[in-house]
């Protein structure tokens, strides 16, 4: 597991909080849905911070909001990664629906760009405003059209906090069951303080295969593997 030093080069204010540009070796860059663990020497931060990428692997690393309010350009970060299991976009996927429920759509940005690169049409249903960097080929739907997006897609990727999953599940209704062939994955957001080092258990999630750790077994899971209330 590579552990390296990186530098926060740039901070940007977005509607979902601070986003940033990080200078770091390629070896630690996370794929879509994977994450990096970043620690700064700032004493007020007793825990490391989880970073998700918004970039493609060969580009400078743009990280998704929200970053800690006290971070500033030039800050040195100790980085550990890439960690976790990310999205598995099927090669044959041609209609990709992205769903950001009560979470920044920027978390799905690198996946969006992978999907466009392989020639898929992409729609985004988000309860938050679309990120400024969203490619213009992406069709943005109001969240009320979630069911239509599910009915249209051949691959669905969602991002949501663990505590919002039951609500999202309700909003999806029977649509997932009705579309048995639809490949559907969810990035579960939750604090991951030890990121697998300690198996502290705070990120435990209940799946049909028993208890799993979001930091180790996720953060992306098949939506069909999740219990009603994870």
């Amino acid at each position: 597991m590579p552990i390296v030093n990186g530098t926060l080069l740039e901070i940007r204010f977005t509607e979902s909080g601070l986003a940033g540009l990080v200078d770091c070796p390629r070896a630690v860059r996370p794929g879509p849905g994977q994450y990096l663990i970043a620690s700064s020497q700032r004493e007020e931060e007793a825990l490391p911070v989880t970073l998700f990428s918004m970039s493609l692997p060969d580009e400078p690393l743009q990280v998704s909001p929200p970053l800690p309010a006290g971070w500033y350009p030039g800050l040195t970060l100790r980085l550990r990664g890439p960690l976790g299991h990310g999205f598995t976009l099927p090669r044959e996927a041609r209609r990709v629906a992205l769903v950001a429920y009560q979470s920044p759509a920027g978390l799905l940005l690198s996946l969006t760009r992978f999907a466009l690169k392989q020639g898929a049409a992409v729609t985004l249903c988000s309860t938050f405003p679309p990120p400024p960097a969203l490619p213009e080929e992406v069709e943005v739907l109001p969240f009320s059209q979630l069911k239509e997006a599910v009915a249209w897609a051949d691959y669905l990727a969602a991002a949501f906090a663990r505590e919002h999953y039951a609500e999202l599940r309700q909003l999806l209704g029977n649509h997932l069951q009705e579309r048995a062939s639809l490949s559907a994955e969810g990035l579960i957001l939750t604090p991951m303080p030890c990121a697998g080092l300690g198996s502290c258990g705070v990120c435990a999630v209940h799946t049909r295969a028993g208890w799993k750790h979001i930091c180790l077994d996720g953060p992306v899971f098949s939506l069909r593997s999740l219990e009603e209330a994870p």
């Binding site: 303080p193 300690g198 435990a204």
Partner: protein
């Protein structure tokens, strides 16, 4: 009692809960580890707490997990071989719910290769007598270290701990309560550099017990670590600094 008696390779340890059930492949600080302390283990399996969470506050964080673990026997089945092969001595942190459970767990662990000490976590809410009975029950052939949350250092039973053959006290994370964003309250263990002064007060008050003391919370700076060791702490345990991988 010195670090040799406890077969420690150095005075730098991890706090229970920081590294799971088996020694990590990589120790993240630039101070050499002296032993490996397991995640807390109960006799029977424990599921994660329903409202498990971590909440940050200025200078620290509250962790509420319910101390999930598969129970002693399932843990041994999965990890005993790794403990036997561990280059570091293994201290098993047990969280029995009664003296009978404590005695049963300790008796079992005495036969496990690689285990060199027991760390006892006491359930919250016990009376003085109940705490002392639990400690007595956990005294066996292996050295016993009692984990004492620093907010409880003034309790009367602490000063009687020395009547049992206890090898030392570990000043560990206190408990606290914080609001979630929805204003519900969560209780949990507190960690972070903000606890250092509280830990130091407990450390100085407990020197009169004559028991070896291990400082097990609030350590986030090299200078503080060296200062408590120079003041007579037998060893130190790191918590969140291990997750950050930094000790400025």
């Amino acid at each position: 009692m010195g670090i040799q008696d406890l077969m420690l390779k150095s005075p730098y340890l991890n706090a229970a809960s920081m590294f799971g059930f088996a020694p990590p492949s990589h120790w993240p600080l630039d101070l050499p580890p002296g032993a490996f302390i397991t995640h807390p283990i109960s006799l029977k399996p424990r599921a994660p707490a329903e409202n498990r969470t971590v909440l940050q506050f200025a200078g620290g964080f509250l962790l509420h997990t319910g101390l999930p673990n598969p129970g002693l026997f399932a843990t041994l089945k999965q990890f005993a071989r790794r403990w036997a092969r561990s280059p570091l001595p293994v201290w098993v942190h047990i969280i029995p719910s009664s003296p009978a459970e404590a005695a049963q767990m300790v008796a079992h662990l005495e036969n496990i290769e690689g285990v060199t000490a027991i760390e006892l976590g006491l359930p919250p809410g016990l009376t003085d007598d109940e705490n002392l009975r639990m400690i007595e029950a956990a005294c066996g052939e292996l050295p016993l270290l009692v984990s004492l949350p620093v907010d409880r250092y003034r309790e009367a039973w602490v000063f009687q701990t020395g009547k049992s053959p206890v090898s030392g006290l570990i000043l560990s994370a206190p408990r606290g309560v914080l609001f979630r964003t929805d204003r519900t309250l969560v209780e949990g263990r507190l960690y972070g550099p903000a606890l250092f002064p509280q830990m130091l007060a407990a450390f100085h008050a407990l020197r009169s017990t004559g028991l070896p003391l291990i400082v097990g919370c609030g350590l986030y700076r090299h200078a503080d670590v060296e200062a408590v060791l120079a003041s007579g702490a037998l060893a130190v345990q790191f918590d969140g600094a291990l997750w950050k991988g930094l000790l400025p």
